[in-house]
Symmetry: C2
Subunit: 153 residues, 2 copies
DNA sequence: CCAAATCCGACCTTTTTGGTCGGAATTAGA
DNA sequence: TCTAATTCCGACCAAAAAGGTCGGATTTGG
């Protein structure tokens, strides 16, 4: 259905949270989970994935926790999503075994590939620090409301 | 995982096929299915969905089949996808009951909403007739510059 | 030593997706 | 009129993915 996974969403939220207190110490998974009402163990697993990909660093032991590995301005939403959900491929032909029976006759994967590129570019233009702005200052006037979903019927 | 469903892919292929023989007669689901090695009944159900949404017209009885309801140049990939998979919403918060527990504290759905708009625009810039010719004809408008993060304020 | 925390992998449940089946209604043509 | 071809429609099923949980090992600061 072309939607982001909840894990990726959680990861984005957590990374943004870490970015805001980047210069402070590390932050435990439990604390982040409680702040945003995310299942603790699930968030922990997501964060561990991000550690493995090198986006975060973890400090074990008491008073430990997670922290950003790089500057928030250099980390993009696409990196976080890719680390959690795997490579972003809009075309559904890419199963694990790569055996799309339609591949020889499929006529839409090429134009769709271009769309894929556009999405990646869009996601890459969103840095973690730019996510920070949104929440730090509560928007007093909701003038720029985003409306995309059309009336279905 | 942010990927298109196979049904949507099948639908795109079928619609494109119909577009190529737009001026010829109708085309049976079985014929299309065989051409592209798609399960017949599954394709039929997809086509029926498109009929219900008004993108296709169907002719019952012997020698019947499906045909495009409108000019191929006026139908976009986004319409086909939306008809099959429902409204395109990248944020995972939008379940059927709309009960995202993170909604009050979520800090990423707004910037992600902008990304969503970009995707919709990209999908809307791909018409069915442009799928028809594989001649690498890049859509001249709407796809040149992508800028989302830089809301200057 | 002990408590707090990450780490890690296995496991389960729910939801979504892809695919199938059988039969009713409709239509063109013999 | 009769029949074959075809759309139509809803229910059903199986596989996969997503979301979430658990228990234990390991590390670290006090
Ligand atoms: S369906 Fe796999 S190539 Fe398009
Ligand atoms: S997770 Fe639902 S609002 Fe972001």
């Amino acid at each position: 259905m072309l939607k982001l996974s909840k894990k990726a969403d959680y990861g984005l939220i957590a990374v943004r949270h870490l970015a805001m207190r980047h210069l402070a110490g590390a932050c435990s998974a439990k604390e982040i989970a409680r702040t945003y009402a995310i299942p603790t163990e699930l968030l922990a697993k997501i964060l561990q994935k991000l550690v493995k990909k090198g986006l975060l660093v973890s400090q074990q032991g008491a008073e430990g926790g997670y922290a950003l590995a790089r500057d928030p301005a250099t980390v993009t939403a696409f990196e976080v999503i890719k680390a959690i959900d795997g490579p972003l491929l809009i075309t559904s032909c890419v199963t694990a075994h790569g055996d799309c029976s339609q591949a020889p006759t499929c006529t839409v994967k090429e134009p769709l590939g271009k769309v894929n590129e556009i999405i990646v570019k869009a996601l890459n233009s969103v840095t973690i620090s730019s996510l920070g702005d949104e929440g730090a200052e509560p928007p007093p006037s909701t003038s720029g409301l985003i409306q995309i979903g059309g009336a279905p019927q």
